[in-house]
Amino acid sequence: MSQHIWVYIDHFKGQALTASWEALGAAQSLAAQFGGKVKALILGAGVANLAQDAFAYGADEVLLADDAALADFRAEVYADVIKGLAADLPAVFLLPTTTRGRDLAAMAAVDFNAGVLVDVTAMEVTEGVILATRPVYAGKLLSKVQCSARPQIVTLRSRAFAKPEPDSTRTGTLTPISISAAGDAQTQVVSYAEASTGVSLNDAAVIVSGGRGVSDNPEQGFTLVGELAKALGGAVGASRAAVDAGFVPYIHQVGQTGKVVSPDLYIACGISGAIQHLAGMRTSKVIVAVNKDPDAPIFKLARYGVVGDLFVILPALTRAFAAKLTD
């Protein structure tokens, strides 16, 4: 067992997710404490270009499995490749908590007789043991977790760790991994459908959310929410009430049965602040609430509040930002 840190670079068709670079940043500080190197794992087809980015964001070495058989992410196929590296396991294996990172971490934990610390927001190291903090009950509580097996497999929550400044002059060792014939694959990716548009909630630095307050005219309400989000380069969120009423698709839902988010700026429009919603956004840096009801619980969490009609306030706010941000 080495003192190295592995980082899984999650990407979709060669486009890395920001959370991968955040993980490289976290790996660099771990490597300093463990006295090992940061090794980025890049799996895919035609993804060699990601190696240079990985070096720039802090990898010392890139383990590259570039093979047509890996063109589409399939958890069991990718997990087999990683299992093939078992002869030289690291001390720590970091992955971003993405759909792919979560499945791979789970499978690697089984393969390596280890465990996994999921969706971690902070780490401290004592004598080689990571004591991690992770939200549970949708952030209503925090739990400290640790693992006695090696490697310590940890998935990191998006935006919980800072993305390092890339240094394009950095270089490192590129180590190709040959994959054994990918046997009888149990699954086949047939196609991709309904590509998501706009900024995803997980990565968003700014989220503008709508709730029951748009119900007088849901379509116009979410158009206004969307316009403000667009002006701020942010994502559109929604309360469960708005999703259940069919105003917007589920992919936008923030809260205990939706996404738990932590943007720099969260603007809640017509959201009263049910406990399930607050659990999903309470760690946002700056919270702004716009609501007709001055007694809405959301105002208790809000740095800035406006008591008023969102149908009037939002367009005014979009205009105000448009004027100020283009100055």
Partner: protein
């Protein structure tokens, strides 16, 4: 076709969950089926109704932890099994997956195992992929839509960051279901009566024929999140535009844009 659906009992989402004297408590809030699991039960029942077979509910917990099981039975599942053993307290995810795998093998000839996306208490979402890996089956996680099914294979749409991924898979397989799948049914009156009378067999480690699996993840402390001290400032003005300008200035001064 034999379908297994794994369910968990959790505090209601409306519960105020806090740590008191180092222990997690939710007051007198009711324990309910994990909300995500209802979608898994719905998907399992739809598949059975279309193609025949049976749906078995599987849960791991203390002997009196049957809320989730009863709800799934009331929705229309055929039978249920509770895995319970004093030796199974505090299992980590991988260890729990090994226990579930032993139960799935004991049930025998299972074609599909369904899970909800994640449990709303521990929020790990790793159980489906772990079970699949232990069994050597594919994991089809975050399934939003189930398409063609012919007994040997199944086609699903997975909800991933970039949209939907259409996957064709061999059986047996493990599937986790997300909310996009569609509203779960309410238990019927007859279903509730049937569930209330149902005898739920309890399987312990001896009946599963395994020892307690090694469990390596521990959670030494659970805490209330730090109190967030927020200074509330209400923005007022004589017109919407004045309010908006003031608010925009305040937000820009926070340097979060």
């Amino acid at each position: 076709m034999k379908i297994v659906v794994c369910v968990k009992q959790v505090p209601d989402t409306a519960a105020k969950v806090v740590v008191e004297d180092g222990k997690v408590t939710w007051g007198d809030a009711p324990l309910v089926i994990n909300p995500w699991d209802e979608y898994a039960v719905e998907a399992a029942l739809n598949l059975k109704e279309a193609h025949g077979g049976s749906v078995t509910v599987l849960s791991l917990g203390k002997e009196d932890e049957k809320e989730a099981i009863k709800h799934a039975l009331a929705m229309g599942c055929d039978e249920a099994i509770l895995i319970s053993d004093p030796d199974l307290a505090g299992l980590d995810g991988v260890a729990a997956a090994r226990v579930f795998a032993a139960a799935v093998e004991k049930i025998g000839a299972v074609d599909l195992v369904f899970y909800g996306k994640q449990a709303i208490d521990t929020d790990t979402g790793t159980a489906p992929a772990m079970l699949a890996r232990v069994l050597g089956w594919p994991a089809l996680t975050l399934v939003a839509e189930i398409g063609e099914f012919d007994g040997a294979g199944i086609r699903v749409q997975r909800a991933i960051e970039e949209g939907r991924q259409v996957v064709q898979s061999q059986l047996p397989a493990v599937i986790s279901v997300v909310k996009d799948y569609g509203e779960p049914r309410y238990p019927s009156f007859m279903g509730i009566r049937k569930a209330a009378r149902a005898q739920v067999p309890v399987w312990d480690l001896a009946q599963l024929g395994i020892e307690r699996p090694a469990s390596v993840v521990t959670w030494p402390e659970v805490m209330n999140p730090p109190e967030k001290s927020v200074t509330n400032e209400m923005i007022t003005g004589s017109s919407p535009d004045e309010i908006a300008k003031k608010l925009a200035d305040r937000i820009l001064a926070e340097k979060v844009l």
